[in-house]
């Protein structure tokens, strides 16, 4: 406490912090970025290990024999799907009943706020079919879910086939202590949302669905299977769920352990784990894997059907079959055995998966970085904001007294409340407009401009976003001329606001918080009314949240090894915005409201400071 009470040491420390503020900030920024890049370096990461006792030491034997028959069922499913032109409900009910499951259906319908041009849907109507295999060994208080989507076209037929094959095989086993629910959901995430809301008796998004007639126990874990070919070369594990939530790391460990045991190639983000960490290419491979995960997590959207389970406290992951040109193939029987093994281990669970980490990044499937290791990277960036705030506070609390000719000291007048409040209120109102107007005004826009509804929504959003930058001298609206003190107070408020905002974001979704901090922190640190206007304005626009998203889109495509041209990138950018708005309306993803209501107004505050007069 000496530091807090001894005035001399305090003065020395504060003097040092204010004098060396700029260099310390630079160092912090570089250290933060370096720390983040270091996270992908293998010696700094931990090897994954199974923490859950119930899944670690026990051995199970996988005996699933009927891969070929499962594929035949899948082909039958495909034929019926083609015939009915959608979900073959009757056939699925019959088939599941023939396999001895309790079968129920759930109807749902949803009108999207505006047409989804990527998936070509607007008025969605569909049916989920699920069968429950009742646990013979224990009271039916807990359940596991295996789901496969019924996708349009020729996709995922094999997944449904394997699901039905496993149902038949599981039915004849006696060791199940948890109900197993086999779910075929239509319209991917919308169906999944309807089913989960029906199962848990909640309605968070205003969707219409018929109540579920049958229910198992409380769901402990879920896997979602996506498979579109008879043989696969590798299986890809997808973890990122809604709002950047991740399942317990033990689920990933379980998948990896069985892949190793059965001898299937497994990947995450489509990247194989490599051993050559000491070479440049090995390191850059790890960085790419991690960056893909960071970008996917930051997008806040569910990257597979599992993504919505996480909201209900259910550990879930998607497993995607990949069929590339590699010569070594894995057949359906092996995939079935892998799933059998995983379900038998999950069946052994005595309590929910909770032993391992919930906050992690994976530079490869075998390595992870936990929250304690990655938070300092963000902390170093956030420290810059606090240092700048401290600097401003010191400047404000000891105002430079100018001496006039008479020798009278003139203390600059303290700024009026109005000159601070006006920019705050106006920028937030702009944010509210950005949040509400695009969806509300689509009809108006479609009437007057030759665009479709989706384009109307996206273009209105962009128009409001750019239009908001016009409000750069709002402080003069009511309070007259701004003072030197005025912008400092406003900047102090804005810097603290940004620090709290980013801190909260980073706790919920580290990747999003870090990416925003990476762009917004330098801007917040250097903006004053006295820097060269044009140059800084350009820099500010480049670092604004909207353009950050554009760069992220290009960067993501680059990392996925599907580079796009400028034109394609722009189209992709537009569709990403519309998807973001849809994700918010359909599943309650928080990225769009966060960006519109908080981040963008915060950026506008700095924009105001730059044009302070």
């Amino acid at each position: 406490m000496g530091l807090l009470s001894d005035p001399n040491r305090r003065r020395a420390l504060i003097g040092m912090l204010t004098r060396l503020n700029a260099p310390i900030c630079m160092i912090c920024y570089m250290a933060g970025v370096a720390w983040f890049m270091g996270l992908a370096f293998e010696p700094f990461t931990l090897r994954t290990y199974m923490s859950e006792n119930a899944m670690g030491s026990t051995m199970v034997e996988e005996r699933f024999p009927a891969g070929e028959r499962a594929l035949a069922t899948g082909r039958e499913f495909a034929a019926h799907k083609k015939k009915t032109g959608g979900m073959p409900v009757d056939w699925l009910v019959r088939t599941m009943q023939a396999r001895g499951l309790e079968v129920y259906t759930q109807r749902f319908s949803r009108k999207l706020p505006f047409p989804d041009e990527d998936k070509e849907r607007y008025m969605v109507k569909g049916t989920n079919v699920y069968g429950i295999l009742r646990a013979p060994r224990a009271p039916r208080t807990e359940a596991l879910v295996l789901s496969a989507p019924c996708s349009p076209g020729n996709e995922n037929n094999q997944a449904v086939g394997i699901l039905l094959g496993l149902a038949q095989y599981f039915r004849s086993q006696i060791y199940w202590a948890k109900d197993i629910i086999f779910l075929v959901n239509e319209h991917d995430l919308i169906g999944m949302q309807a089913w989960l809301e029906g199962y848990h008796h909640t309605n968070t998004t205003g969707m219409d669905w018929s109540p579920l007639q049958g229910r198992g126990g409380s769901i402990q874990a879920a896997l979602s299977l996506e498979l579109s070919s008879d043989v696969v070369t590798s299986l890809d594990l997808v973890l990122e769920g809604l709002n950047g939530q991740l399942p317990n790391l033990d689920l990933a460990n379980l998948f990896y352990a069985f892949c190793q045991k059965i001898g299937v190639l497994c990947t995450t983000q489509g990247k194989l784990p490599r051993n050559d960490w000491d070479t440049t290419s090995g390191y850059s491979h790890a960085v790419q894997t991690m960056m893909l995960m960071v970008l996917k997590q930051a997008s806040s959207r569910p990257w597979g059907d599992h993504g919505l389970f996480l909201r209900y406290h259910i550990e879930a992951a998607s497993i995607k079959g990949v069929n590339s040109f590699r010569p070594y193939k894995t057949d359906a029987t092996t995939v079935g055995r892998l799933l059998e093994g995983m379900y038998r281990k999950l069946n052994n669970l005595l309590e929910r998966l909770h032993q391992s980490y919930f906050f992690y990044l994976m530079p490869s499937l075998t390595r992870f970085v936990s929250i304690g290791y990655y938070m300092p990277a963000f902390g170093l960036l956030a420290l810059i904001l606090l240092l700048r705030a401290l600097d401003l506070w010191v400047q404000l609390s000891s105002p430079p007294t100018r001496t006039t000719e008479d020798g009278v000291e003139v203390v600059p007048a303290s700024p009026g409340v109005l000159s601070i409040l006006t920019p705050l209120v106006i920028s937030h109102l702009t944010g509210v407009a950005l949040y509400t107007l695009p969806v509300l005004s689509q009809e108006l826009a479609v009437e007057h401009f030759p665009v479709s509804e989706t384009e109307a929504v996206v273009l209105t959003a962009i128009a409001i976003y750019t239009g908001g930058t016009r409000s750069h001298d709002t402080h003069r609206l009511l309070a007259g001329e701004g003072t030197e003190q005025g912008w400092k107070v406003l900047k102090l408020v804005a810097v603290l606001y940004l620090a709290v905002l980013l801190g909260c974001t980073a706790l919920i979704n580290f990747s999003l918080g870090f990416i925003l901090a990476l762009t917004l922190v330098p801007l917040a640190a250097f903006i004053t009314p006295h820097v060269p206007k044009t140059l800084s304005a350009v820099v500010m626009v480049i670092l604004s949240p909207g353009l950050t998203l554009l760069f992220a889109v290009f960067f993501f495509q680059e990392l996925q090894e599907t580079p796009v041209t400028l034109q394609e990138g722009w189209m992709l950018y537009l569709s990403v915005i519309s998807q973001g708005i849809l994700d918010h309306a359909l599943y309650g993803s928080l990225l769009y409201p966060l960006a519109a209501l908080l981040v963008y107004p915060c950026w506008l505050l700095f924009w105001n400071i730059l044009f302070w007069k």
Partner: protein
């Protein structure tokens, strides 16, 4: 001054009424930061339902309000919203009047001191001018009414007690009421007594009989009204059930629902055979500082009240942000101490960050399931540390100003160089 106060009350009531109408009211009344097991409206409704069925409201383990409150709401059930708004307004007006009264006194004292030349010449800038003091009562009322914390607790229909004092009997009765509501205001007895003694120009001197006479008289009034209240409750309810259910519940902390206080996590983790010992240690914190603070601040009972309310808000067993807002309302009274505050920037940053982090970590713990109680408790700890720093900072600043008022503002060391005050 009446017009701005009326305007302020209207604005405050409008905000509250508007919030009652929105869906936010439900959300807020579920927040653990705002409601405690002691004062949750849900529990009051439960108690009322039991009372209507002729069952003792304390027979379950849900209701922990005092019998008077339940009978009050028994009649005011349909006007609950108005009652809460009215209570807030009354508290604000009472605060307003009390602070106005206090300011008058301070000013009078200062005038006497000036006339008697007891204040060193270079301290004139520490003297408080009437113009700057003119707005303080209004600011206090504003701080109380427009504080987001107060608003949310009103909307959540928290039944926090309020405290006013004027004449001796009235003060004793209100203090007894507050103590009856939750035991902790007992410690306010000392400052209230000191304040009254000061008004009557009775010196605090253990050898003077008038001091003892008045003290005993006051204590008698206080204990008498407390006794009357408790007996009244007994006759209303017809049993002593409420004593363990209310006071036992406050003192032995059986409900470990997370809140912004320090008790829940600690006692959830503790082995049972240490429980009693640590219970005493934790509870003694509230009462422990009363004596040394009263000795140190016997000339300044109002500041002592502020310190006590703050300490109660920090160390009580089921604190809510409503308690916080009560002592924060006093901050404008001490804005002349501002130049001596040292950690105000740090403290306000931490308080701000904590207020934002509470809901975030609660979400991560309870809804997302990815964080755990340690995260939430860490923020609780930080929040308490910030509050303690705030209070001790104000204490330090107050003492320092007093020191300067007697010794001069620009202190010199013996060799003539500029001296600095070091608190060790």
């Amino acid at each position: 001054m009446a017009a701005p106060l009326a305007l302020l009350l209207i604005v405050a009531v409008t905000i509250r009424a508007a919030l009652f109408r929105t869906s936010l009211a439900n959300l807020i009344s579920e927040r653990v930061e705002v409601v405690s097991p002691l004062n949750a409206w849900k529990r009051v409704v439960e108690g009322l339902a039991l009372l209507d069925l002729d069952i003792s409201p304390y027979s379950g383990d849900v209701f922990h309000e005092t019998p008077m409150v339940i009978y009050l709401f028994h009649f005011l059930m349909d006007y609950a919203e108005i009652t809460f708004m009215l209570a807030d307004c009354l508290t604000a007006v009472a605060l307003y009047l009390a602070v106005k009264d206090y300011n008058k006194q301070v000013f009078r004292k200062q005038k006497f001191a000036l006339e008697a030349d007891r204040i060193p010449m270079d301290c004139l800038e520490l003297i408080r001018s009437p113009t700057e003091m003119y707005y303080i009562p209004l600011k206090v009322a504003m701080f109380y009414l427009l504080n987001p914390f107060t608003i949310v607790s009103c909307v959540a229909k928290c039944t926090c007690g309020c405290l006013i004092y004027g004449s001796a009997l009235l003060s004793a009765i209100f203090l007894a009421l507050a103590t009856y509501q939750s035991i902790y205001p007992l410690t306010l007895c000392v400052p209230a007594l000191l304040y009254l003694l000061q008004r009557l120009y009775i010196p605090v001197n253990v050898r003077r009989s008038s001091f003892w006479f008045y003290t005993l008289q006051y204590l008698f009034m206080f204990l008498g009204s407390l006794l009357v209240l408790i007996c009244l409750s007994f006759f209303l309810l017809g049993s002593w059930d409420f004593l363990p259910a209310v006071y036992g519940f406050i003192l032995s902390v059986p409900d470990l629902t997370p809140n912004i206080g320090l008790f829940w996590y600690f006692f959830a983790e503790m082995f049972d055979h240490f429980r009693l010992f640590f219970l005493c240690v934790f509870q003694i914190n509230v009462f422990f500082y009363t004596l040394p603070l009263s000795i140190k601040l016997k000339e300044h009972p109002v500041f002592l009240i502020f310190m006590q309310i703050a300490l109660i808000a920090i160390f009580k067993s089921y604190p809510t942000v409503g308690d916080l807002s009560l002592y924060m309302a006093f901050l404008p009274v001490w804005n002349h101490l501002y130049r001596f505050l040292r950690n105000i920037f740090l403290v306000s940053c931490v308080l701000l960050a904590c207020s934002a982090l509470f809901p975030v970590l609660w979400h991560l713990w309870i809804y997302a399931g990815s964080a755990n109680s340690n995260f939430y408790y860490a923020i609780t700890l930080l929040f308490s540390v910030a509050q303690i720093l705030l209070v001790s900072d104000y204490f330090y600043a107050f003492l320092r100003r007093e020191h300067h008022l007697t010794n001069g503002l620009y202190l010199k060391k013996k060799d003539g160089s500029e001296a600095t005050l070091v608190l060790k």
